[in-house]
């Protein structure tokens, strides 16, 4: 499975960054073999639209799952429209949470888990 994790550093042992729209990096892991690539978040410094842009990036990368701490309503809507499954409340390292997903321990979010910031996350 192709999984994107919001991260503080571009590495498998990076701690998860809780902010989907504003994290500095995304670590994209292929859980079958734990190969990975990292992407800088282009919208990290932005105001509104950061979550939407991040969602678009995930769609362009054909990611299947997003693992993050917090996901706001605009990002959530973008990800689900792109057919990407969202899991919130993730803590630990990128490798740890990707592993938990692969072993079926995690459940999809039912919706955004942080307030609407009117496009600002």
């Amino acid at each position: 499975m192709k999984v994107a994790v919001s991260a503080k550093e571009p590495a498998l042992d990076s701690p998860v960054d809780s902010r989907f729209g504003r994290c500095p990096y995304y670590v994209i892991v292929e859980t079958d073999d734990m190969s990975f690539e990292s992407r800088e978040n282009p919208g990290a410094g932005e105001g509104s639209g950061a979550g939407i842009r991040a969602g678009k990036l995930m769609s362009d990368l054909s990611v299947e799952y997003v693992l993050t701490g917090n996901c706001g309503p605009n990002a959530y809507r973008t990800l689900t429209a792109a057919g990407i499954r969202v899991i919130v409340g993730c803590e630990g390292t990128v490798a740890e949470v990707a592993g938990r997903l692969a072993s079926g321990e995690l459940t999809d979010a039912e919706g955004p888990n942080v307030d609407s910031h009117f496009g600002m996350e």
Binding site: I52, S59, A81, A82, G119
Partner: protein, 283 residues
């Protein structure tokens, strides 16, 4: 037509008190006058003028509507949008109308004409009269953020005749610029407290950037010692009037009374203020 905007950096300095008093005074002196409430987030003018409203309509801002059956998923609409209001994903296009600025770029750029624009309601525009004074106000819908768009519509709906008094929102950013822009003269209402003077400096910079002549009304002028003397460069710009702190004014305003109407002792102050403004406008 003379368009006078009443503004201030700080909120609560007495813009609406001055604007409504001026409107009443102008009307009582036989002038054709129209009061326009551009403080669309918190309009208060009606509390004082008590207008009879004759017309009302919703003002809309254009947002994109995508015909999914014609869409070829080229992605150009998402590329041109700077506000993330329209996003092209693999096989669908989603829109975020709340983020849309109405620039029309997406519909222009769509190669198959799949995007049309529909109006999204942002606020109410109402007009009528208040005993001889023309009255127009805009009220932004709660949760909306596009106040400049509404203010633009409110201003352009006013017939350009007589004396138009625009009651602006507080502050110095884009909604205020929209309300004040194009005025012949600006009246900046302030108080001589540190907060008032600090915000006056910002308001002066704004009006100077817009290149509009202005004068200052110093309200509650005696709540700080040597109030007027704390205003920098006051020889360069006129202090049109000084109104002392008067608990009576506070009480009159609190219950919606127009000061120039309800307090005869202040009629001359507003009459002279009006005359002063008209003189400045003639120059």
């Amino acid at each position: 037509m003379i368009n006078v905007a009443v503004a201030s950096g700080k909120g609560g300095t007495g813009k609406t008190m001055v604007a409504t008093s001026l409107a009443w005074t102008a009307c009582s002196e036989g002038l054709e006058v129209h009061y326009v409430d551009c403080d669309v987030e918190e309009p208060n003018g009606h509390i004082f003028l008590k207008p009879e409203l004759e017309s009302r309509r919703q003002v809309t801002s254009p947002v994109p509507e995508v015909d999914e059956s014609s869409c070829i998923h080229c992605g150009r609409c998402g590329e041109i949008c700077r506000f993330s209001a329209i996003v092209s994903l693999g096989n669908s296009v989603i829109t975020f109308p709340g983020l849309c600025h109405g620039c029309g770029g997406c519909s222009l750029v769509c190669p198959v004409g799949a995007i049309t624009e529909k109006g999204r309601e942002i606020g109410l525009l109402e007009s009528g009269t208040a005993g001889g004074i023309g009255f127009t106000r805009g009220t932004l819908n709660i949760g909306e953020v596009r106040s400049p768009a509404l203010i633009r519509e409110v201003r352009s709906s006013v017939r350009p005749a007589g004396l138009v008094i625009v009651d602006s929102p507080p502050g110095t950013s884009c909604p205020v610029v929209e309300a004040v822009g194009g005025a012949d003269y600006v009246v900046l209402v302030t108080e001589p407290t540190p907060f008032g003077l600090s915000d006056l400096a910002l308001a002066r910079e704004m009006v100077e950037t817009l290149g509009i002549p202005y004068g200052i009304v110093l309200n509650r002028s005696d709540i700080c010692e040597d109030g007027a003397s704390r205003i920098p460069d006051r020889e360069k710009v006129g202090i049109l009037a000084e109104i002392p702190f008067d608990r009576g004014i506070a009480e009159t305003c609190s219950s919606g009374g127009i000061v120039s109407k309800a307090m005869p002792g202040y009629r001359e102050v507003f009459s002279e203020l009006l005359a002063g403004i008209m003189r400045e406008c003639e120059e």
